[in-house]
Symmetry: C4
Subunit: 250 residues, 4 copies
């Protein structure tokens, strides 16, 4: 029987727990909102992805509470199968059934379409507020900020049909993040998102109005850096708006 876990600090299941604690302190995930998924890019099977469970205190996650899937969409392991369930989290009632994050189909879709190494989903208030301040827009755009350099320059390689990273954005260039409308069920976002990913080959994130943001990258460290930079820019944009400063400098 394969083990999906390891003591190594950088194993995906351990990193998800570690980063969820850090993101909780950053107000990006709350007890039940938001989540992280990591693909085991350096492991024996790079199509294996780890996904945080739904409805669990994000700052108290444990590695064995993870779901494990194989791309494109097979669930390999559920924490409910674990004989040793009470060990997983003593906070839960004995009859508790783990569920994967509601955004799991959406995460898998991003892995499949973008060959991503990790996907981060936050309910950051900077993301949510920005989609309401600019409620009539379908894109969030900002330019002339040093922090923009942290973001990747992506391009569709028309020969291979894949999106490739060809460098970083320059600080005077415009970062564009598409905004899609929220849906009653998180599962229903998948179609809209798929369409948007195809329409915006340069995007490394999608804002969901009155909901939050999905950010991905070639590995978890890149995804984390993109998420930090985008959240910084969203926060700054809101302050600029409140001080009457336009986001786009001609």
């Amino acid at each position: 029987m394969t083990s999906y876990f390891s003591d190594h600090a950088n194993h995906p299941a351990n990193l998800i727990c570690d980063l969820c604690r850090q993101f909780y302190d950053n107000n990006w995930v709350t007890g039940t909102g938001g989540g992280i998924s990591i693909r085991d890019v350096d492991g024996p099977n790079p199509n294996v992805v780890y996904i945080a469970p739904s409805g669990i205190q994000k700052e108290r996650l444990r590695p064995k509470e993870m779901f494990v899937a194989e791309l494109p969409e097979k669930i390999l392991r559920s924490p409910n199968q674990d004989n040793d369930k009470e060990q997983i989290s003593p906070d839960l009632a004995a009859n508790f059934k783990y569920k994967p994050l509601a955004c799991t189909p959406l995460f898998l879709s991003i892995y499949n379409l973008r060959d991503a190494g990790a996907v981060i989903h936050t309910h950051s208030q900077n993301a949510v507020l920005a989609t309401m301040i600019w409620e009539d827009r379908l894109e969030f755009k900002i330019n002339h900020q040093e922090q923009i350099k942290a973001l990747p320059k992506l391009e569709l390689n028309t020969k291979t049909g894949r999106i490739e990273k060809i460098g970083s954005l320059q600080n005077h260039e415009t970062m564009v993040i598409p905004i899609v409308d929220n849906t009653p069920l998180e599962e229903d976002l998948t179609d809209t998102l798929t369409e948007t990913l195809q329409k915006y080959p340069g995007a490394t994130a999608v804002l969901v109005r009155r909901h939050g943001i999905h950010v991905w990258g070639e590995n978890i460290w890149k995804a984390k850096v993109y998420n930090e930079a985008i959240d910084y820019l969203l926060e700054l944009a809101i302050k600029m708006h409140q001080n009457g400063i336009p986001l786009i400098k001609e």
Copy 2:
């Protein structure tokens, strides 16, 4: 003699200390404002509840400083009875007398009326400010936010006369939290609150104007998640108000 304490990290007396430290960092409780009470739902007597003491540094609480009560309203144990009092908290003068939180009758009332597993009371500035921005209203209402999904859908079962959780709110539904006026003595809030609980079977929280909020749930983890989600929505609502965005979307 029964012991009311245990080394188990999830024992109510230990969890109250742990979460008070976390809530202090979140600015929900201060040195003396706010508090937590947990019912020993998985213990030998599920009518036993633990209540934090009043006037003690919330981020430095120790398990043996808790009061223990039995529902509906008997005090079983006071930290003043402890022979080993100096061990409880070396911060206190020798003649210090512990008092239970002033909101104890109110907490017990919520346990009795709602069959709750835990009650959280915070002085969060988001709660206090919202009750002043909307000073003329008796309800705080917001809809069309993903975070609303974290909250329970409650309904009065007319056969049993009990409030039952029948699912979660949907993101387009309206979360309603009643607002009651503050009283000079915290004890006097109990009558108003009892009335309000009966009038609002769907509520899992009550705002107290210029004071704070009481949030409850079927166990401490649910109460914590509800409190996080409500505080997030109150904070967001204030930012929406400051940016001219209505809280209710038609």
Copy 3:
């Protein structure tokens, strides 16, 4: 030779270090701004007071870096006398000379006039901003807030000539904190402050315009609670002002 230090976590020299770290995280003290002084009220000589040094990273203080004084105003011990100075703080150049906080005369004055057990001085931006928003006023006043209950009700006992605590403020009562103007030298504040303490027997704090706040209490835990409550109320007052809500409710 008397030792001014101890391993006990609640010894004044240890508590100053511990609380300075906590206050640094709360943004009340910075590398060199603000400070804490504690009187050894439970020690062999209750007129001994410990005072943090000036110009030292507040979040990295060590117990042996404290100055020790005896009321009314004798310096008993300076960290410069320590033979083992390099052990005190390896961060300092070999020829570094410790100086007590510039507000030391002011601290001693508060101890002498109010029989205080501890004095806290912060550069909290809530305090500084409030003194500028209400630049033309000589008092900061707010009422009808639950948090006001954390503050003491003080009265001059005309027989003994001492200020006595006769209870706590009620939530509908008005908290009054006098505001004095800043002076080029911190030492020069002492006269103004002395005058103000006599004029305001009910005050447990004084705001210094464009500078910060001094808060005191019968012991360090009370002083800490008063400081937390006042800072909370100053922060709330600024938000109320920005939302057009008057601080005084008729």
Copy 4:
């Protein structure tokens, strides 16, 4: 072979890691934005400087990831030379090439022109927002604030041609920080900065518009204190602006 590392907590390579973690929590550096450089002023060769690498998670830096240079501008050691590279950071792909911070020439320039002991570069939103609120100005100026006292009074000694610290600013004096425009490449800032350093002998920091701030001092502890005080004043200035309070009091 010389070792550039040590177990001592105050060794430059260790301090950079320690302070980057602290600055990450203060929101001054993010995953890849900002950085710290420290000169080994107390070491065998006081012209040796340590520089954080570029593009590495700032809150997870390890000492052996540092670049080491000798003033005026020779690189002595790169983390890429380390045979034991995988030990440095298990987060990195095997073929990862470390690069020194893009602002390295700028850091070296500050060391050479100002005889500094440490340089801090942050992307603090207070710095960035201030340069946009006052987009048409070439200087940030504020006076009559107690926190100004934390900053050095610097003067050109016309005999030696060196900038010397002759004391601290007084609280009624005006702190002046020049603002330079950002450039597409961080390397290109060096010329503008050199010019500005010569024009402003009294400055201990330079703001870069829509980018961040560079702060230096005679050693890392002073640089840290100056950075904290300046960031405090920038944050306060933005709040003053939003409340209609002028930064300069006549």
